[in-house]
């Protein structure tokens, strides 16, 4: 039987992995170019490097079988690779115990009271380190170094970006850290092989994964039951003192100012 509604109150995910990857791709997008020279050595064109989100194996599969169709002239040309290009791949996830927070902390959304009179809240997040692998495939080593040198200066060794991981919450700072750069160092090629250059950059990302986002109601009314002892006894005096304090606390005042029903204090005598 098809399930068409949320399976339980605890079901939910926030697409955080996708957003973190998308944020990284967006950071690279429009930043990475390579120069093209004419036969006199002068730059005649800048190439915007295409970005993929895929595993390295899949990345190869795509470019090896790519067929380029130029719709404008209806010419179809089959090529092997179209270079240069960059692929980003999520290669691993590990729990990061150094950033652990108490389990029962509850975080309230920055949007405050939303339309239905509730406040968005989530339980304490779980810290993870996400491993990103960035692969650079080029035809010349010159292109390869051009691309690496445009990425590396941003990471010292970390680069933080604010990403809206949860709606109704403040954007959260996500830290991308450059771990290593491995330029292509293959030197064993058959004489008939063409050489392509594949460099790899490894990053880790500090990510917090959140439990299902929930809505909690706002407190508009509070009933405080006091156990009143006999008048003149020690207990009576103490409780009376608390009652006086409770009548002056600010929530009562703020709710009255908003025109909502004031907080009621009822006394039950036993």
């Amino acid at each position: 039987m098809a399930i068409t509604t949320a399976p339980s109150a605890f079901y939910g995910h926030q697409n955080i992995t996708r957003k973190v990857l998308l944020g990284f791709l967006d950071f690279l997008n429009g930043r990475i170019f390579v120069e093209r020279f004419d036969d006199t050595g002068a730059i005649y064109r800048y190439i915007k490097v295409p970005l993929h989100s895929s595993s390295r194996e899949r990345f190869f599969h795509i470019v090896k079988s790519s067929t380029v169709v130029n719709n404008s002239t209806s010419n179809e040309i089959e090529l092997n690779n179209i270079l240069p290009r960059i692929a980003v791949n999520i290669s691993g996830m590990t729990y990061d115990s150094t950033r652990k927070v108490p389990k029962h902390n509850k975080i309230k959304g920055s949007a405050g009271v939303v339309g239905d009179g509730s406040v968005r809240s989530v339980m304490a997040p779980v810290p993870y380190k996400l491993d990103l692998e960035l692969s650079i495939l080029t035809k010349t080593i010159d292109d390869n170094f051009q691309i690496i040198e445009q990425i590396v200066p941003y990471f010292a060794p970390s680069f933080s970006m604010d990403i809206q991981l949860l709606s109704d919450f403040d954007p959260l700072s996500v830290q991308y850290t450059l771990i290593s750069v491995t330029p292509d160092s293959t030197d064993e090629y058959a004489i008939t092989d063409e050489r392509l250059f594949l460099s790899t950059m490894s990053f880790t990302v500090n990510v917090m994964y959140y439990y299902n986002r929930a809505s909690v109601g706002t407190i508009k009314e509070m009933i405080a039951n006091f156990h009143i002892g006999k008048e003149g006894s020690e207990d009576y005096k103490k409780i009376k003192k608390y009652e006086l304090v409770a009548q002056n606390i600010s929530p009562i005042t703020s709710i009255e100012n908003r025109g909502d029903e004031p907080m009621t204090l009822s006394q039950t005598e036993y």
Partner: protein
């Protein structure tokens, strides 16, 4: 017993010339119509030794013998491999005599291109073997890296290569940009002009 054909085998040059002429005729009969494109390599970059300023020039119409060209699809390649064949996708070997290339003033070398109009494929020569006055050109499907195309190139297919970068950027980078806009995940003032 009389031989059907007889050559003057006393003179080595004569014999060889006959052999080459027969080769030329055989290639003209069984070869494929191709466009041989030489690239202007200019001066190499001194440290890495790469020809960064390569320019693709107008090609010459030639007929070369295609020894083998594997054009099976991925599925077919997997199937054939079970039977002992190992088709390598995107590889081809071309043959032509030196005297034939001389008529076009072409000395083939690695990085030249071969445009095969019938299959709509561009191959790049990866190695040239000279054997018995013939060139054997080992070629792979072209890895296009946005090299400059000379202004006088009239082949529309070759000229259309210049649009590839724009197509790719529209396909990939613009989709990323669109996804970021749709999800509204990055605040506007996040990175500014790329400074950190």
């Amino acid at each position: 017993m009389t031989k059907p054909f007889s050559f003057n085998t006393d003179y080595e040059g004569e014999e060889f010339a006959t052999f080459l002429n027969i080769s030329d005729d055989a290639i003209a009969l069984h070869g494929e119509q191709l466009v041989y494109i030489q690239q202007t390599l200019a001066q190499s970059e001194p440290i890495f030794g790469e020809y960064l300023g390569k320019v693709i020039n107008e090609g010459a119409d030639v007929i070369l013998y295609v020894e083998e060209a594997h054009t099976f699809s991925d599925d077919m390649a997997g199937m054939y491999s079970k039977f002992g064949f190992s088709p390598n996708l995107g590889e081809a070997t071309f043959h032509g005599t030196i005297q034939y290339f001389d008529t076009f003033n072409i000395v083939p070398h690695a990085q030249d291109l071969i445009w095969w109009p019938k299959t709509k494929k561009i191959y790049e020569v990866t190695h040239v073997t000279e054997e018995k006055k013939q060139y054997k050109l080992t070629a792979e499907l072209y890895n296009y890296s946005h090299d400059k195309i000379a202004d006088d190139v009239t082949d529309t297919e070759i000229n259309s290569l210049t649009d590839i970068n724009d197509d790719e950027v529209i396909n990939y980078n613009d989709e990323i940009e669109q996804a970021v806009d749709d999800d509204e995940i990055i605040p506007d003032d996040d990175l500014g002009d790329g400074l950190f």
